[in-house]
């Protein structure tokens, strides 16, 4: 144990592994998206996808069992809240149906859709989540649809309830989706119905609580209002999300007299901790076809 040769060899081994890790870190940050390590990552993800799919399906009963315990505890309290919400939503659906009919007629008459950049036609592709990022620092999931199914990078992804994220890496049969709770995520958003614009960013460690930043003080945001994608481009990250995809509901508004902006907390509609199925909003036809489709209601 105290043989100096053994000690030297042991320390040398550690130094080699640490050195190799640092070399990989440096090279990874230095290379482009088509570099060696990125290509290796794509290849590995594609190779492991069948195993992850199989393991995910085999372990699903166990996941559901554990999930059942937690869900039962939460269900009682949630039931009362949902009953009230259903009542309110019924009223809003009736109003929305009327408004939709009116809007459709008006759109056909004055062709407003072209000027307003109405949501472009998309083709939803359903996909199953086959892998989740294991740490809180990277909020990504892998899905079982790839370029062969028409999925491309930057396409928006929705889960039950609302926006989940966007596609950031695509292989032939799988794709990586960066969730809106990832540290790198920034989604330009709009509070409905008052139209206040802001940027939805995550707060690491709190996937059930997003932050809507950069809203002017003058635009008062109230609790309970809905936040949707605005379709604008934020200062740091180019937003590829179409306008009008629901993100979440305003759960709290912090008003600070010192800060220039309000700090709005948003509870996402989609349960991003436990998503099994998502939809990728892939492009539907050429842009010209999409415009034509919008103009003919």
């Amino acid at each position: 144990m105290f043989d100096s040769k053994v000690v030297r060899r042991r320390r040398a081994a550690l130094a080699v592994f640490v050195g190799l890790s640092l070399v990989m870190l440096t090279a990874y940050f230095g290379e482009s998206a088509g570099g060696v390590f990125h290509t290796l990552q794509r290849g590995t993800q594609e190779a492991l996808a069948p195993f992850e799919t199989g393991a995910g399906r085999a372990l699903k009963p166990f996941r559901d069992l554990f999930g059942w315990f937690g869900d039962t505890v939460d269900a009682k309290g949630e039931n009362d809240r949902l009953e009230g919400e259903v009542e309110a939503l019924r009223k809003r659906v009736a109003e929305a149906d009327t408004a939709t009919r009116d809007v459709r007629q008006l759109r056909g008459l004055v062709k407003l859709s072209r000027q307003e950049g109405f949501p472009q036609g998309t083709e939803p592709v359903a996909a199953r989540v086959i892998a989740h990022s294991p740490t809180v620092w990277y909020s990504t999931v892998k899905i079982d649809k790839g370029s062969g199914d028409g999925v491309k990078e930057d396409q928006p992804v929705i889960a039950a309830g609302g926006l989940a994220g966007k596609v950031t890496r695509v292989t032939g049969g799988t794709s990586e989706v960066t969730l809106i709770t990832d540290a790198s995520s920034a989604v330009s958003a709009q509070v409905m119905p008052n139209g206040a614009n802001g940027v939805v960013k995550p707060e690491l460690g709190k996937p059930e609580d997003l932050l809507l930043d950069f809203i002017e003080k003058g635009r008062r945001v109230t609790k309970g209002t809905t936040v949707v994608t605005s379709g604008f481009t934020s200062s740091k990250v180019e937003s590829r999300f179409p306008r009008g995809v629901p993100i979440g509901r305003v759960s709290r508004v912090d008003l600070d007299e010192v800060e220039l902006y309000q700090r709005v907390h948003v509870e996402p509609f989609a349960d991003l901790r436990r998503i099994d199925v998502v939809q990728v909003l892939t492009s539907k036809g050429s842009p010209d076809e999409q415009q034509a489709e919008v103009l003919v209601p």
Binding site: A13, A183, L204, G205
Partner: protein, 192 residues
């Protein structure tokens, strides 16, 4: 552990299964708001049974596989897990633990080292967003859950590694029976 192809294959199998299970099976599980993390447990298990060099090598390989499979920053997990594997291996070499419940504190401490060091590395490298204090709750829950599952995970790893091990640190029979012709201190030639 003898550096034979069979030993490499056993360690590689453990690492591969752990990463795949972590990504597809254990990841979505959230017990009491947290989730167990198999990766530091298997690295710690290999290190405790096979020593510091094997632990560091396993940490490096498992970390690289994890970074490749997750699409995270290459080298970050390798760096942290190499150090975790080496540290646990050195603990075994210096203290030679043999208690049956040893996997629980070792697994918990290895997980603590992994989550804190990985958080620090991630935070320094490329996390620009604000960080909620709830991150610490997640870390604590992961450590607690890993402590709970440490015993079966270590036992499974031991079973897989055992044919390739030169010395099994948990082999109590080895300790209870001193070598023949040894003195009362268990040292040959010192029959005091």
């Amino acid at each position: 552990m003898s550096a034979t192809p069979g030993a490499f294959a056993r360690v590689a199998l453990i690492a591969l299964v752990a990463v795949i299970l972590q990504l597809s099976g254990f990841g979505p599980d959230r017990l009491f708001g947290g989730r167990p993390d198999l990766v530091p447990l298997v690295v710690a298990a290999v290190a405790i049974y096979a020593g510091s060099v094997a632990g560091a090598a396993t940490g490096f390989g498992t970390g690289m596989l994890l970074d490749l499979a997750v699409g995270g920053t290459m080298g970050a997990s390798s760096l942290v897990l190499s150090a975790v594997g080496y540290g646990v291996g050195r603990y075994r070499e210096v203290r030679d633990p043999a208690h049956g419940l040893m996997p629980i504190p070792v697994g918990a401490l290895a997980t603590l080292a992994w989550v804190t060091a990985f958080a620090a590395v991630s935070f320094m490298l490329d996390v620009g967003a604000s960080v909620s204090p709830l991150v610490f709750r997640d870390m604590l829950l992961t450590i607690a859950l890993n402590a709970v599952i440490a015993l079966p995970v270590f036992a499974l790893c031991r079973r897989v590694l055992r044919p390739a091990l030169l010395v099994d640190p948990l082999d109590l029979r080895r300790r209870r029976q001193p070598p023949r012709e040894a003195g009362p201190l268990g040292l040959r030639g010192l029959e005091i």
